[in-house]
Amino acid sequence: MSQETPSLPPGVTPEDILQRAAIDKSTRLPVLFFFTSGAAWLLVATLLGLLASLKFVVTGAFKYEVLNLARVQPAFVNALVYGWAYQAGFGVMIWIMARLCRTELRNPVTLIVAGHFWNLGVTLGVAGILGGQGNLHMKLLEFPAMVWPLLLAAYLLIVVWLVVMYSARRPGSGYISQWYILAACFTWPWMYLVANVLLNVFKKAGVAGPVVASWYANGVTFLWMVPVGLASAYFVIPKITGKAIHSYNLSSFAFWSLLVLAPWAGAQELIGGPVPAWIPAVAGTAQILLLIPMLAVCLNHYQTVRGAHELVNVSPSLRFTFFAAVGYVCTCVASAVLGSMSLSRYTFLSFAQDGVMMMGTYMFFTMAMFGAIYFIVPRITACEWVSGSRIRLHFWLSAYAIIGLCSLLLIAGVSHGSAIDEWESSFETAVMFSKGYLVGRIFLWAFLVAANFIFIHQLVLMVMNRGRKAGTPTLIHQPTPYETAELVITTEGAEA
């Protein structure tokens, strides 16, 4: 792409650019804080995940109370979700919201203080789990009971500024991503408060406990990660392809159907368990209906990218976002299918549920966040990513590892679950059935660790202002002359 005459894209005035630059500058510190501390937690989480998968096979390894498998596994999941996913999400939410509202961020310090409290909460929580203080029977609520008010307060302190920004937005700057970000601002505190008040304060939940816990865990995926991930996709795709989102009506339909349906889902994983039958039945029905917003979003994004698919090869942001979209489809389909009575008999209490969790958290959300980070960081650091080939390596290692991990966990889950279902065989035999898959899982985790080392190294270089000092974007690979011609025609120089 020629830079000889850096002409402005159509519809963009020099004032727009100055305004963007001012917004980017105002968001620089909090966004980089959340990205870097999130990335550090990502590394911790992947290492814990590697350790957990290792301990599943080499049962005698690291025989310390602290590194007990029953503690390492939830510590890994919580570090991944609250340490990495939420913080990456905060950074993306802040930046996209500021840009779309066309307002500068006036209180970066408050956000950073809240961010420190969030990190303190996650640290106490993960340490508490490893130290044996966690509530190990509630998925994603394993942190010791003292942590939740801290996390909730930190979250509210962060999102209140997003709401303030939205209410102070420039006229005429309403956009789909803002709806999703606003939704995420409100859904999580609601779910987290309800779940913790019932389970940690009143402590009277009894059998309703697992229902609330499964509702919350599903809500983290479908009412928080999906809105934030889609907000990022709705922002990144048109920015890079230079095309307007296909249909406003479809976007609005997808948004409202998600918000109406998702709060009903979750408890289908208790099917056949000691809860009233209608609870899993309603939840499973809602989970199937959640395919509708997914189809609408996919159609919308597909129609938007159509004609510019070559850009997926070239632009790091678009490639990660595209992969995340595939992850979103897989997550919705797998969640819907695993809720079915006939199949859940084989997947209940098995690795398949871990597989779906990894799909939502990593294959969809984490990859979407990588896409957004590759887009945002050059803008707030004023330098470019060091190397396209390293981004490519990061992508392929992550993609290969996460596709492998999710399919292994699903297949191992079904074989493990059907072995559990054999009345006469012991649990040990059932685990033996999936041993081959579990050995494969260790290697895939090693790939994931390598991928994240590459990512974090790149990010640190950017933060230290050691990126490339050039006005040209870092692309995954240089487009061929033919592709360049095509791309210039279709997108007029849009980039990563």
């Binding site: 966690g134 309703a208 159609l299 009345w423 006005g471 040209t472």
Partner: protein, 256 residues
Amino acid sequence: MASSPENIDYARTANVATMHAAAAREREATAVGGTPVSLWVVVATGIVTIIAGAYFGQNTGTDSSIANIRGYQYALQYPEGSSGGGAAMSDEELRQDANWLAAGKAVYTGAGNCVGCHQASGEGVAGQFPPLKGSDWVTASDKRLIAILLYGIGGQFSVLGKTYNGQMPAQGTALNNKQIAQVASYIRNEWGNKAPLIYDDQVASVKVEIVRQASWTEGELEAAIAADAACVPSEWPAKIAKAAGGAAEAAPAAKK
């Protein structure tokens, strides 16, 4: 590419137009197309809705009456003594063996309680939920049994030579001391099990002695409470005997 501005340090240049190259090459993105929702979306929505409806029907059975959703009838909080056989009974009467065990059975079979997993036969579900019938965990140490009921147990543990892996939720928050004592007594004396009854003051003493957040693992439980550990003796047998003695004395007196 010869004239492309490579190797310019953007952090040091004063030229705003080049400093914000990343911001400058970006497109406007706030415009959204107005394409109406196509017929195919409506059709696909209909198909998914039909599948979801079939799923709902399959999982709630053909009985569409309100009775089918009456599973919700169990209360989240058990009123004090609700399973105790009526308010007319005195404390001592309630704790007589037959009444105490009957109350325990009511707790055991209460909706959402033990029976869902451990079954009415006390044999559990092979490979998934361990049996109570003939299990040492139930009949050996009263203290250990109370501790399991109060805080739940998770992970791998072996019962009657078979390994189970699951999670028994803590009951200490859902059931009161009386109910825990009743149900513990019941499972110790049903299906051929034979062991002394447990009373609520014993549950209270374990609650004071052992305070936990997390549920037990087999290793932790074995380390904390020996297989033959016994609770402090209950005051109730003496009180019951005294009350019974008093009644026996009173009876001849009434005859006079």
